[in-house]
Amino acid sequence: MLLHEFNPSIKALTVVVCVLVLSIFFDPVTPFLTLAVTAAATFIFGRVSFRRWILLFSPFIFMALIYIWSALVFSKAIEGETILWTWGIFTLTEESFQRALSLGMRVLSFTSLSLLFMLTTKPAEFLLSLMQQCRLPPKLAYGIMAGYRFLPLIKEEFDIIRNAHRIRGVPKARTLSEKLAELKRYAVPLLAGAIRKAERTAMAMESKGFTGDRNREFYHKISVSWKDWAFFAFFIAVVLASAYVSWLFGFLQLYNGKL
């Protein structure tokens, strides 16, 4: 059983609901436990290599650290809180430390849930599922799919245009106004090219009888079975169980507008 096999729409729903449920709680332990289970599931049932995962995850670690740091430095000590450490105008209390940690963990748990979805779902299948389960208009879905194919081409095109300008002996842009003029020079052919490509693709789609009609047949049927709902239930249970464990150890707090 692989994570890839579950219905993409249900998977997306699971992530969204988990995030919402996690938002109710505000303590470091609940999101940490959820994070641990989610990451483990990604590695074991998603067959995602740790290297790839950490590469995408690490920017968020950095972000979480900044959150923690700023929450530490700029927090005000409230009367009656346990003071851990003071230095000049900075005061660190146990409570504010916990708040900062909760925020950081929250960011990371959200990230791990999103990564679980991203790394185990093919964009094309997600769009097919959105059309079949969520009534997403085919016009939009196939438009996105066609556009998705163009992304790498745009970078290529940009390089070509930059080279073409070099060939003409255009001096390197140094000042800001030169850079703006350069951007303008690139934008026209880039846009012209993009529009022409989009037009051609749209025509090619129409020539294959695409009308955007919502009533269409699907060769790849993306189905929903009890397994998908089991997946949904499992992850909600993981979040609730994390909260329960957190409560057992006396950490659990509800979010009431702190920070």
């Binding site: 094309a124 196939y142 799919m145 066609a146 998705y148 194919r149 790498p152 081409l153 070509i160 245009i161 080279n163 073409a164 300008h165 070099r166 060939i167 003409r168 002996g169 255009v170 001096p171 390197k172 020079r185 026209v188 052919p189 012209a192 090219g193 490509k197 037009e199 051609r200 693709t201 749209a202 025509m203 090619a204 789609m205 129409e206 020539s207 294959k208 009888g209 695409f210 009308t211 009609d213 009533n215 269409r216 047949e217 699907f218 060769y219 790849h220 049927k221």
Partner: protein, 572 residues
């Protein structure tokens, strides 16, 4: 083939199309019928509205653009407007020119499924239909492949399969081979020829290079520059009676017709009608062997070619994203030399040309321009002495008017305004763009854009000009003018390095040919010697030029005697 003349099923009446806000119609008063099982060649100079007409027949236009279509198109007696959206596309299919922008899915299977789903094919039948369509174009092994990993030729075959899967009654081909190397293009035509035998569709073909198509077509419809019908009748009549007019309109002629026309002018062709095929040409020649010399347009190497080497490449390698795109390439370009680079799609030709232009940095090896490392040149000095013409002319336009486009590099050199004016005018005159001097470069026609892009590179009198497939998609007149400009350049002591798929250019203009395959140089030498190296020709997807084929056939003709050889030739 006996045609059922009485049962046309696609018919246009007084068809006129205008883009919004333009008075001049793209094409006008086109009356045209298509009969079942017929193959029609749609000819015309570039910009005469061939593609537009094709899109109108398929009901893509006028909906896809702001334009107005007057007149009527009937399919099986029913007005096109009366069809439900998407319905007509099942009956009239089209394959477009650009292999890159006609797909919207990521895998071969999904792309085919897309069309069938659109037609509300029951899902359980789709799998079977996909397999059948892929088998027709010999792509079945690639069923689960990602589309972006396919070659240009394979992409065009896939596009064909997509259309065929819908079982159309009319198939429109809009320059399907324009972006392909000679061998892929030949393969595609062979597949269509094969299909035409077993399947009962009618064909409307838009093409520039006619040699592979000519025996397939029953009829020609020719549009002139104004978008009016110049000729509508049998293929034989078309080229017999109107070859001169066609040539004047800038329409490419089939090689045999062109050779026949030349031979007739020289008084060595005794046939009554111009030849459509090689067999007819040989049969009609008074003295085939003598005729070869007259027909051969191979340039005579100028006496005393200077031996000064201006560009030399030594053990050049280039890696990108861990892939070895070019391996250990060495060669040199002399002053006044025309070097052609050939090879199949994706063999590294464009990469090599970018390296030569100093746009990429070699991973290994040296490129010396005037005995100096490319990297040691000051950017501005280098650009004034080395020009590069991109495959897509639009990529290199940077000014807002045609005039400024040419003046641009002169202004960088800080020339006095009066001189600039004079030079720009001479240059524009040379490429017939003087009357368009105030237009925006993007609003020019395809051929005009190409000429402008070359002119902007010629104005600096660079000693070395690199060109990436400059004749691609151009009509005969533009291509001829372009080659004349190159000749002029060479005559004035410049050197030209040109990437091209066009074997006729290779034969008639090149002093030296370099053939690439998979990033390696597999041939360097005279074009004449290349034609004899069958192994290399095959690996690099090249084809022999017309005159060489003719020479071989005439030789065979001499050996086997008149009667049977004619039969063989027409079969071959």
């Amino acid at each position: 083939m006996a045609l059922q003349r009485n049962h046309h099923f696609l018919k246009s009446e007084q068809l006129t199309f205008r883009h919004e806000g333009e008075n001049k119609p793209v094409f006008q008063n086109v009356d045209f019928s298509l009969y079942p099982g017929e193959a029609v060649l749609l000819l015309g100079p570039s910009g005469c509205g061939k593609s537009t007409l094709a899109y109108c027949l398929n009901k893509l236009y006028p909906e896809a653009v702001d334009g107005k279509l007057d007149g009527a198109i009937l399919y099986k007696g029913k007005m096109l407007e009366e069809f439900r959206p998407g319905e007509i596309n099942q009956h009239i299919g089209i394959v477009f020119q650009d292999p890159e922008s006609q797909f919207c899915m990521t895998t071969v299977e999904d792309e085919l499924a897309f069309g069938l789903e659109n037609m509300k094919t029951p899902p359980e039948e789709i799998g079977n239909k996909i397999d059948k369509a892929l088998e027709l174009v010999h792509l079945l092994p690639y069923k689960h492949a990602q589309i972006h990993t396919l070659s240009g030729g394979q992409k065009q075959k896939l596009a064909l399969a997509c259309v065929l899967s819908l079982k159309p009654e009319v198939l429109i081909l809009d320059e399907p081979t324009a972006n392909l190397d000679p061998a892929s293009s030949y393969e595609l035509t062979s597949i269509i020829r094969e299909l035409k035998k077993d399947q009962s569709f009618s064909l409307v073909i838009i093409e520039h290079k006619l040699d592979d198509w000519i025996d397939l077509t029953d009829r020609c419809l020719v549009l002139n520059r104004e978008g009016e019908i110049l000729f509508n009748g049998s293929t034989a009549d078309c080229f017999n009676k109107y070859a001169g007019e066609l040539q004047a309109e800038g329409i490419w002629l089939p090689s045999s017709v062109k050779a026949g026309l030349l031979a007739k002018k020289a008084g060595i062709y005794k046939g009554k009608n111009l030849p459509l095929t090689e067999g007819e040409l040989i049969a009609g020649l008074v003295n085939p062997n003598a005729a070869l010399q007259i027909l051969d347009n191979r340039k005579i190497p100028p006496p005393g070619l200077k031996e000064q080497i201006i560009l030399s490449v030594k053990n050049l390698s280039f890696n990108k994203d861990g892939k070895e795109l070019l391996k250990n390439i060495s060669f040199s370009v002399k002053k006044g030399e025309f070097v052609a680079i050939a090879g199949s799609n994706g063999s590294g030709k464009t990469t090599l040309s970018r390296l030569l232009a100093g746009l990429y940095t070699p991973s290994n090896g040296d490129i010396l321009y005037h005995d100096r490392h490319l990297s040691l040149w000051k950017e501005q000095d280098l650009r004034q002495r080395l020009g590069y013409v991109f495959q897509n002319p639009e990529h290199q336009f940077i000014a807002d008017t045609v005039y400024d486009e040419i003046a641009f590099s002169l202004k960088i050199r800080r020339m006095p305004d009066a001189d600039i004016k004079k030079m720009v005018q001479t240059s524009l005159q040379q490429v017939h763009l003087l009357q368009h001097a105030d237009m925006h470069p993007f609003s020019l026609s395809q051929g005009q854009k190409r000429r402008l892009s070359v002119a902007s590179m010629l104005v600096n009198e660079q000693e070395l000009l690199l060109l990436d497939e400059p004749t691609f998609g151009q009509d005969a007149n533009t291509a001829r003018e372009l080659m004349a400009l190159m000749e002029e350049k060479i005559r004035r002591g410049g050197s030209v390095v040109m990437i091209t798929h066009d074997m006729e250019i290779l034969h008639s203009c090149a002093d030296k040919v370099i053939v690439l395959s998979d990033g390696e140089k597999i041939y360097e030498g005279l074009p004449d010697d290349l034609w004899k190296k069958h192994e290399i020709m095959k690996i690099a997807s090249l084809k022999v030029p017309y005159i060489e084929k003719l020479r071989n056939d005439i030789r065979r003709y001499g050996r086997e005697g008149k009667v049977c050889s004619y039969m063989n030739l027409t079969q071959a």
